[in-house]
C-alpha cells in the first residue's frame, strides 16, 4: 500500500466499521482481539458455543485490558444467534481453534448469514487462506482475508495481513489502514504460505531449541539462546507461554506442508509429544519446560519426563555470556556480538549454530513468505520481539555473518554473499524502530 499518512487516515475512515462479530470469543485470541476492537469499533459482539462461554470471553477481555468500559460496547451470544448478529456486522472475525474442518463448517454458516459487503477475517496462524476460501461464492472470496494477530494483542503490535488469490485489493488496503490508524498495528503483508512469515521463521528457531533441550536440557538450551542473542524472552519460556499445543499445531503444519532446507528442525521432538499425552501444555497446564512448585523453579528432564529443581542443575562456565552482556549493558552491541562470535567455549558454538540457522532460514524464505526481507524483519521485530535477521547481520557485519553460517554448515543466502563482497550497507531500514532494544544484557 503506497499512500501518504493523511491518505491512509482518510482510507481508515472511508468505509463504515460500526459492528464486528468475533467468533470463538471465549478463546485467548478471540477475547484479546475483541478487547482490542472495543477501542475503535462502537459495537463488538462476542460469540461462542454458548452464551455462557461468550460471557466468559467478555469477562476475560475486561480483565485483560483492565477496563470495565469494554462491556459498554459489547454484546454476547451463541452461534444459534449467528443469523441475527451477522445481519448488521461490517466485519466478521473468526478466531476458532486451529482446525481446518471446524473453520470450514463455520464459514458455511457465515456465508449464508453475512451481508454481501461484510469483510470476513480469519486469525489463523498458518492455515491456507486460499484453501479456506475454496468453494465459496464470489462475494465471500473477494471479502475474505487473514489478519494474524500475535498473542496477547494488547501487548504485541506485529500483525500479518494475508490476501487470498481473489481478495479485493481495496478490502486489503482498507483493513491495513484501519488496523494501523485505529488499532495501532504494525502491518506486514505476507504470502499465503504455511505459517506465513513470523511463525514460519520463529517456530523453526523455537523448535530447534526444543530439539537441543533433549541433548543439553532446557535450562542450558534457554541460557545459550538467551536474551543476549537478541530477544526479550528465552525460546523455551516462549513455547511455555504460547502453549505446547499451539507450538505443535504450527510446526506439524509446516513440517507436513513444506520441504525446505531446514526440514528436520521443524520436527516436533518425541519427548514433547509424550509429555503432551500426560497433559503437559506449558503455562496453561501449570507445567511445560519449566514449572513452579511454591517458590521452587523446576525444569523438565526430557529423557525421564520428571522435573528437577533448577537450582540443582549444574551449568558449565559460560563466561562469554557475561562478557557479551557487559558490553550490551553499556550499549556496545556490535562489540558484544563480536565477543559472541569470538567466544571459545564449546557451548558458544551451539548458540552460534542456532543464530546462523535463524539468519540463513529467514533470508532463504524471501520470495516464499514475503516479497522482501524487510517484511520478515518487521514481523520478527514487532511480532516476536527478536532482533530481526537483518539487524543481526548489520550488527555482526555481512562478512562475519557469512562465516558464521558457513561454519555451521548451513546454506549461505546469496544476498549475504553479495553484501560480504561489496561495501558495507545496512540491510535494515526502518526510520522509527530502535534496534538496540533487542540486545538485552542478560
Amino acid at each position: 500500500m503506497s499512500s501518504t499518512p493523511a491518505q491512509m487516515r482518510r482510507l481508515a475512515g472511508s468505509r463504515p466499521l460500526q459492528h464486528v462479530v468475533v467468533l470463538g470469543a471465549n478463546g485467548t485470541m478471540g477475547y484479546g482481539a475483541a478487547a482490542l476492537f472495543t477501542q475503535a469499533i462502537p459495537r463488538v459482539t462476542f460469540l461462542a458455543r454458548s452464551r455462557e462461554k461468550a460471557q466468559e470471553g467478555l469477562q476475560a477481555a475486561i480483565k485483560q485490558v483492565r477496563s470495565e468500559t469494554v462491556g459498554n460496547r459489547a454484546d454476547v451470544g451463541s452461534y444459534e444467534e449467528l443469523d441475527a448478529k451477522l445481519a448488521t456486522a461490517d466485519l466478521v472475525f473468526e478466531a476458532l481453534t486451529e482446525d481446518f474442518a471446524l473453520k470450514k463448517q463455520m464459514f458455511d454458516r457465515v456465508e449464508k448469514s453475512r451481508r454481501a459487503d461484510s469483510i470476513v477475517a480469519t486469525v489463523t496462524s498458518g492455515l491456507s487462506i486460499n484453501e479456506l476460501a475454496e468453494g465459496r461464492g464470489d462475494s465471500f472470496r473477494r471479502h475474505f482475508l487473514g489478519l494474524h494477530l500475535f498473542n496477547p494483542p494488547n501487548v504485541i503490535v506485529g500483525t500479518e495481513l494475508i490476501g487470498g488469490r481473489e481478495t479485493d485489493p481495496a478490502v486489503l488496503d482498507f483493513i491495513e489502514a484501519f488496523s494501523r490508524v485505529r488499532l495501532g498495528r504494525e502491518i506486514v503483508r505476507t504470502h499465503d504460505a504455511p505459517a506465513f512469515a513470523g511463525n514460519r521463521v520463529g517456530f523453526k528457531v523455537l523448535n530447534e531449541v526444543a530439539q537441543l533441550a533433549e541433548q543439553i536440557g532446557p535450562v542450558l538450551a534457554d541460557r545459550l539462546v538467551g536474551p543476549y542473542t537478541g530477544r526479550a524472552m528465552t525460546p523455551l519460556a516462549t513455547i511455555d507461554l504460547v502453549g505446547w499445543d499451539i507450538h505443535r499445531a504450527i510446526v506439524d503444519n509446516v513440517y507436513e506442508k513444506t520441504q525446505d532446507e531446514a526440514h528436520a528442525t521443524l520436527k516436533l521432538p518425541d519427548y514433547m509429544a509424550k509429555a503432551m499425552q500426560r497433559g503437559v501444555l506449558g503455562n496453561k497446564s501449570g507445567a511445560g519446560f519449566f514449572k513452579k512448585e511454591g517458590k521452587t523453579s523446576l525444569a523438565l528432564d526430557p529423557a525421564s519426563g520428571d522435573y528437577r529443581p533448577v537450582a540443582e542443575i549444574k551449568l558449565p562456565k559460560l563466561g562469554y555470556i557475561d562478557r557479551v552482556a557487559a558490553l550490551h549493558n553499556v550499549g556496545r552491541y556490535a562489540e558484544g556480538m563480536q565477543a559472541f562470535l569470538a567466544a571459545e567455549e564449546p557451548e558458544a558454538e551451539i548458540a552460534r549454530r542456532v543464530i546462523a540457522g535463524y539468519i540463513s532460514y529467514a533470508f532463504h524464505r524471501v520470495g516464499e513468505v514475503t516479497d522482501a526481507i524487510t517484511g520478515i524483519d518487521l514481523i520478527m521485530a514487532t511480532g516476536f520481539n527478536w532482533a530481526p535477521p537483518s539487524v543481526l547481520v548489520d550488527t555482526m557485519g555481512a562478512r562475519a555473518s557469512v562465516e558464521l553460517i558457513e561454519r555451521a554448515g548451513l546454506p549461505v543466502p546469496q544476498a549475504l554473499r553479495d553484501a560480504a563482497r561489496g561495501a558495507a550497507r545496512p540491510f535494515f531500514h526502518h526510520p522509527q524502530l530502535n534496534v538496540g532494544k533487542f540486545f538485552v544484557a542478560n
Partner: protein, 411 residues
Amino acid sequence: MAARPEVYVLGGYQTDFARNWTKENKHFSALMREGVRGALERCDIAPEEVESAHVGNFAAELYCMQGHLGAFFTEVDPKFSGVPTSRHEAACASGSIAILAASAEIEAGRYDLQAVVGIEQMKTVSAAQGGSYLGTAAWYDLEAKGVEFPFPKLFGRLGDEYDRRYGLKDEHLAEISRINYENAKLNANAQTRTWYMNKQHALCRTEDNPAVGGRIRISDCSQVTDGAVCVFLASRAYAEKWAKGRGVELAKIPRVKGWGHNTARLRFDDKIAESRDQQYVLPHVRSTITSAWKRAGIADVNGVDGIETHDCFTTSEYMAIDHFGITAPGESWKAVEAGWLEIDGKHPINPSGGLIGAGHPVGATGVRQLLDAALQVTGQAGDYQVEGARNFQTLNIGGSGTTSVSFVVGL
C-alpha cells in the same frame, strides 16, 4: 540591528519510549549512547565534526545516582574526547534549556555544529519514590514534602482554577486524553501505543482509572518514561555544506525561527495570585508563546501548522489551547468540541501523542518536541505526519507552569 544568525535543525533520533532500560539490564550510558549514535547515523554526521554538546536532564542524581552528565557524552565515541560539554536543568523544561544554550552558542558564532541530548531514566524506582523526586521541580519543602504524588495535585488545582474562573468539564479533559492516546497509536516510538484507551475509559470513575490528585485521574497523566533524544543544531555555514553533501537545497532544512523563554515564580499559589485579575491563568506561558511568534515573524497561531505541547496532564494541554490563542481565554473546550486538535484538524496538537501518549522522560521532552517539529516540517513524521506542515511550534514547561520555553521550527 543586524539579523540574528540562523540556527538549523539537521535532524536527530529518539529512543523508543516504551522501553524499560532497567528490564533490559542497561546502564544510563547505553541510553546516552543509543540516542547519540542513532542521531549520528540518521544525520550521516561523522563524530569528529561535532564541536560541542549540551545535555538536558532533570534528576539523574536521584534516579540513577549519577551526575556530571555532560561528560557521559564523551563516552559515546573516542573522537568525542575533549569536546566541550555541559548539562542543563530546569525540571521538565531541561531539554529546551539545553537547546537554548546550544543555539545561543551558534548565534554567537562560537561553534558550527552542536549536539543536544535530552535524557532521563525514570523506571529505576517505585512510582511513589519517582513521584517524590518529581516533587523537587516544585518548592519541595512547601509544596511536595510529605505529599503523595505532588504534581498531579498541583495540576489538578490548575483545572480547579479554570473551573473557578471559566467553568471546566471533565469530558473535555477526557477528550484531550483520548486524542493523545489515539495519536500515539500512529507513533512507533510512543510509550502507550498498545495501552487501552478510549473516551469512555478516560471518563471511567472506577478502580480501572483511579484518581491520583484532585480531579486528575490516571488517564489524565503523562507517563513515567525512560528515553533519550539527540538533535544536531548547525550554523548556516555548516548547514549549507551538509545540505550540499546530501544533494538537498538549504531551503529544505528546517530552522529554529523563533524562541520564547520565561520563568514564573516557583510556587503554584504565587503564580495564581499574580494572574488573579488577568485573562490568562498563566500569563508567563502566554508571553513565552507570543515572544516565539514575534521572533519568528508570525502574527498568531494560524502561522503554525501544528503544535507539540507540554501535556504533563490534560489540564496543562487545556491551558495551552487558550494560551496559544486557538480560542479566547477560558474557551479551550470549544476547540476540543470542534475537533480542531485532531491530527487532521484545524490546529493539530501533539500528533506524536505528546507526553500523555508518547511518554515523558522529563529531561528529554523538550528535545523530543523539537525533533518532532523538525520531522513534521520535513515530511518525515511517518504515520503521524500532519499533511503539508511547514511550521510547527513547541511548548515545554518545567514545574507547575514555572519555566516555559517555546520554539517555532520551520522552513
